[in-house]
Subunit: 332 residues, 2 copies
């Protein structure tokens, strides 16, 4: 490597339930290269970590950056996590347990690596670059395969001691409601995740109440994704709209609980479902949450749609690595 | 005043639903004098502020400290509050609105005054001097006339921008449950505050199911306080025990939601009810909360009883004034 090569680059990584993304950024967070692969969680932890390395290698190659030019890697992961050791403790939607992400990537790329909850890094991205720019307290809710939450409080990700937090999807709404993937009865995730919505939409399609959806994708929930749900609503499947409204109402109830605790200034709603129908979901959540709040909270926050889409997590993860490792540098 | 008089004293104040307390502390938080009066919220804001001034005057007199020796006053108030302006926006249990506490006390005593939610100051007291000493994240829950919550995160009270937060009593548990004093249907406060418990206990007494309680205080809920509830349980009123257990179970459900968001290291339960029957309530809440958590959260926290009783809020309020005003000094 020529000695004059600049060493001021960051990698952001987004390990999602269905896809993984890596991107390389310069010091001003301009994106220089990226790569996307399917996650294939069912292949297990070891194969998954290999896929992560390969994805980062491809992004570095596209950006024409060597390992030695990296200042750090930030990884947004599904939780719960052991943040100190950089291990994914359990990721039910991937079927993973005890995945040593930090150790694996530090060994491979020779630079410091920080992991954080993927929603936390997404909210941090929206806080630094998007819909919650520089606000004192930003709460993010991302309905996806599950329903994730994250909070940036006074410039930093709000965190647990050895694990993530803001697990809004696991707040209980219904005493004896349906179970989510983690076995919690009546949790928000069990009634308002994209999976839960797809499960209800498939039943409507099966019963013949959602003819457009049935014609497009049948009754297989793995084919009932955000885009086709939005298209079904536009094409007159009114029961699908009601399913989305019900889910958004439930998000509003859980959000009211979170607002009573955290008093955020901005609530950012993101993820594929929200991107596919931002107005319907943002408006419905906004109405629902206000039915369940103390009056004095009503004028203290805004509910807005995320602005960065898939970029939020990778860009936020890279920016969070900068917060962690620039600070460590300045202390030493 | 002689010129050599030391100026290193703090006043802590606890404005409760039924009583108000003031205490004077030296720099090491040794208590030098105190006073207690009934709050008499029904007399209104102006009379209430006069009573506060009188209570502080009496405590100063007992401590033999002049106004000019005070570095600051910290006041724990029922919320929601406008922290920046130091105003109680609404205190439903007092019937107060827009009470200018900070301005009134600063004018009277000539020293800086900070207000905070009374539970926040209580939790700060437990964090500095009691059951959550120096822990990274302490969540407090104080079932009283309502059900208050507070959080000390990395050494500071977690706060909203212009108001308090951690209003765990207003989290919704039951979609169409009973209403609390603030009109929230199915909130924790509506099913687990001391008032809600007293309401149920009075019904049991009326129906003849709680003979000891009925004999002691009849069916007037203003006489059904924590001590007599504990005595009723000891004297065989099993239905009273069930009412307390039900309330503690509901606290556990709301607490699970809060733990999923905040991932605290210690959960401190305090207030009169808990003091009257700490084992029953702590154990029941501890069992209940663990039924509603993701497995990875189970070993991350302890549930403990508060240690400082009535001292928590006054001592915490004084210590919080020190954090606020010593820091301001060092910055200027």
């Amino acid at each position: 490597m020529p000695e004059d090569k600049e060493k001021d680059y960051w990698v952001g990584f987004d390990l999602g339930g269905t896809k993984m993304l890596a991107a390389v950024f310069d010091a001003k967070f301009k994106q220089l290269g990226s790569e996307r692969k399917k996650t294939k969680g069912h292949l297990g932890v070891e194969a998954g970590l290999e896929r992560m390395i390969g994805t980062i290698r491809s992004a570095l190659e596209e950006a024409d950056i060597d390992d030695t030019q990296l200042l750090g890697i930030g990884v947004g992961c599904p939780g719960p996590l052991d943040l100190a050791r950089g291990v994914i403790l359990e990721a039910p939607n991937l079927g993973w347990e005890n995945a040593p992400v930090k150790k694996t990537l530090e060994k491979e790329f020779g630079c410091p690596t920080v992991i954080a909850n993927d929603v936390d890094t997404g909210v941090f991205g929206e806080y630094r670059f998007g819909a919650g720019k520089n606000e004192r307290c930003v709460l993010g809710i991302f309905p996806g395969t599950g329903v994730g939450g994250g909070c940036v409080y006074e410039g930093r990700i709000f965190r647990g001691k050895t694990m993530s937090c803001m697990e809004i999807g696991h707040m209980q709404l219904l005493a004896d409601g349906p179970r989510s993937g983690t076995g919690q009865a009546g949790s928000l995730e069990a009634v308002a995740s994209r999976l839960a919505i797809a499960g209800q939409a498939a039943q409507a399609a099966f019963r013949g109440q959602a003819p457009y959806l049935r014609e497009q994708v049948g009754t297989d929930i793995s084919k009932i994704r955000s885009g086709v749900l939005a298209a079904a609503i536009e094409n007159g499947d009114r029961v699908i709209k009601q399913i989305i409204v019900d889910a958004a109402n439930h998000i509003g109830i859980a959000l009211a609980g979170a607002i009573h605790l955290l008093a955020p200034d901005v609530v950012v709603l993101g993820g594929g479902l929200v991107e596919a129908m931002p107005e319907l979901i943002v408006e419905t959540v906004n109405k629902s949450v206000r039915k369940h709040l103390l009056p004095s909270f009503l004028d203290t926050f805004e509910v807005v749609a995320a602005e960065l889409a898939d970029d939020a997590t990778i860009k936020g993860a890279a920016a969070w690595a900068e917060v962690e490792f620039r600070e460590t540098d300045s202390k030493s």
